[in-house]
C-alpha cells in the first residue's frame, strides 16, 4: 500500500542539540548530520545564525553549512538554518544559506521570553525578512511557536493562529510550520487547527512540529496527517526540549515517526536501520539523548 510521500525534517542537529547539556564540537555536529543523510533524511535543520556567546552549541554554523552544502551526496538535501532576526538572516545569506527558518509566536509571553518582542513585532520582523528572502531566492520556513498553548500565557486561540498562518502564506512563505513547542497539544486540537488551516489555504505548504512531553506526539502526527499535512519536524533520538517550559521533554523522535509512517504505508525515503545508527551516534555524542519511545521494539524486530 503506497499512500504517497511524507517529508521528515530532522531538527536534531539544531533544536535537539541546543537543549543537550553537553555542547558538541562543530565536527561532531557535522558527523550527526552526515549520519542522517546516510539514512536518507533529506531535510535537516543544520544550525542557527545566533550569537555564539549566547548559544555556544551553534558555534561553527557558517563553516559547517558551507561544508555540508558542498559535500558529495547532499545535492538533493535541504539544510535549513534558524535566523532569529535580520542580522541573523544577513549572516546566513553571506554564508550561502539556501533555506532559513523564521520563528513567529502564538503568544506575547513566549515572544517576549525568546526575542524580547511582542508577537506583532516578531511578525513584522519576520515579514520583512521573508520579503527579502523572496528577492534573494532563499527558501523560507515560517514556524509558529506555541501554536496551541504557551507556558506563560496559557491556551492559544486557534483562529488567531489560523489568521497568522494565512498572512504568512500570502507573503509567500515556502513552508508554514505549526509548532507545539511545549508538547501540550492533544490530537483533537491538532485535528481542529490543521483541518481549519488546510481547509482555508490548502495543505501543500504546511508542516507540523510536535513534542512528546505528554506521550501524544505520534497521536498528534496522525491527527495532522489526517488533516492533510505531509511534512513533519522530528528529532533524532528524541532530543529537544524548551528552556521556558519546565517539564517539556524532547521532540517526537525521528525513528518513531518514520516507523509509524512506513508501517502505515507512507514513503519517507528513510532507512530505519541506518536511522537507528544515527540515533546511536546522537546518544553516544551527547550522553543525554533519550532515544525514541519505540527503541526497544525497533531494535528487537
Amino acid at each position: 500500500m503506497a499512500l504517497g510521500k511524507v517529508i521528515i525534517n530532522d531538527v536534531g542537529p539544531r533544536d535537539g542539540l541546543q537543549s543537550q547539556s553537553k555542547i558538541l564540537t562543530p565536527d561532531e555536529r557535522i558527523a550527526l548530520v552526515t549520519a542522517l543523510l546516510q539514512a536518507g533524511v533529506r531535510h535537516i535543520e543544520a544550525g542557527a545564525f545566533v550569537s555564539v556567546k549566547a548559544v555556544p552549541a551553534m558555534a561553527g554554523t557558517p563553516e559547517g553549512l558551507a561544508g555540508l552544502q558542498g559535500s558529495a551526496g547532499s545535492a538533493d538535501a535541504v539544510f535549513t538554518v534558524l535566523v532569529p532576526n535580520a542580522r541573523g538572516y544577513d549572516l546566513a545569506r553571506e554564508a550561502g544559506a539556501k533555506s532559513v527558518c523564521l520563528v513567529l509566536y502564538g503568544s506575547d509571553g513566549m515572544a517576549q521570553a525568546n526575542v524580547r518582542m511582542n508577537r506583532q513585532q516578531a511578525e513584522s520582523m519576520a515579514a520583512e525578512i521573508l520579503q527579502q528572502a523572496r528577492t534573494d531566492g532563499v527558501r523560507v520556513t515560517s514556524t509558529i511557536a506555541v501554536a496551541f498553548e504557551c507556558p506563560f500565557d496559557g491556551p492559544v486561540e486557534p483562529s488567531m493562529v489560523s489568521e497568522l498562518a494565512g498572512r504568512l502564506l500570502e507573503l509567500g512563505t515556502d513552508e508554514l510550520c505549526i509548532a507545539d513547542t511545549i508538547g501540550a497539544a492533544n490530537p483533537l486540537q491538532v485535528r481542529f487547527l490543521m483541518s481549519s488551516i488546510a481547509g482555508r489555504y490548502g495543505a501543500d505548504r504546511l508542516s507540523c512540529h510536535f513534542h512528546d512531553t505528554r506521550a501524544m506526539g505520534l497521536a498528534n502526527v496522525f491527527a495532522a496527517l489526517e488533516s492533510g499535512v505531509r511534512k513533519f519536524d522530528a528529532s533524532i533520538a528524541g532530543m529537544g526540549g524548551c528552556p521556558f517550559a519546565p517539564g517539556a521533554s524532547g521532540n517526537v523522535a525521528t525513528e518513531d515517526v518514520v516507523m509509524m509512517l512506513e508501517q502505515m504505508g507512507f514513503d519517507t525515503g528513510i532507512n530505519l536501520d541506518s536511522l537507528l545508527r544515527a540515533a546511536d551516534l546522537a546518544k553516544e555524542l551527547t550522553g543525554t539523548a533519550p532515544g525514541g519511545r519505540a527503541s526497544a521494539w525497533l531494535r528487537h524486530r
Copy 2:
C-alpha cells in the same frame, strides 16, 4: 468543552498482573482494585477463572470477586473476570460473577498457542458460553485477540475480523473488544477496521484494547475514538505484555489514556491524581510495572 463519556476498563489487576514476574497475594490484588475504585474507575478486569497451577497470579479469584462485589462503594462497578472455557464459565457463575470476558482469535496460530484450538473451535466454544450467559443474565465481553497482526501467522485480514465481530454482536455479546494483543497496529489500520465495524454494526457495543510496544498506543486510541469507539481497555502503570509475542511491551497505561481523554474534553469520571496513586501502588507491589509514558509530566504538572 464536554464531548461525552468514555469508559475505561482497567485490565491491570488481571491482564497486567499476569505478566509481572512477581506474583501478588490475593489481598494485594484487591488493594490495587480498591485504589482503582477510589480513583473513579468503574470497569475493572478483576481476575480469571483459570487453573491456579498454570496461572498462580490469579489465585483467590473466587473469594476476591465475592468480596469486591459485596464491598461498599462498588455498587455501580463492573468487575469482569476472564473465562477461558465452559469449565471456567461454570466456576465464574458459581462464584457469582456478573460479567465475564471470552477470548476469540484473529489467527489460528494464537488460538493454538493460547487454548490449543483453531479459531473456529474457539469461536464455537465462545458462542456456546455466550448463549448460556444470556440465559443466566451474565454480562459478556467478547474479545477478538490479535485482531491486527499475529506473532505466528502475520497480518490478519480485516474483513475476517469484521465478520467475526458481526457474528458475536448478533449472538448478543454485551461488548465486543477489538484487541491489538501484541501492539503491532498502526492508527490507519485502526481507523480502517473500527470504522468498518462501526459502520456495519454501530459503535455502541465496541471497545478497543491497545498495547504501547511501538509507541502508537495513544495514536490508536485516538483513531478508534474518531471511528466512534467510546470504551477502552487500559492497564494501570502500563503493566502487561504477551507471553507469545517477544518484545511486546505493556498495555497502554490507564493514566496516559485518561490524561489524553480528559484533555480532549471527554469525561472519564476518573481523578488523575488518585489514579497516579494507584499507579504508584502497582509499581510498589510488583516492582516491575513500568508506569505510563507521560508519568514525568503528569507528576510535574
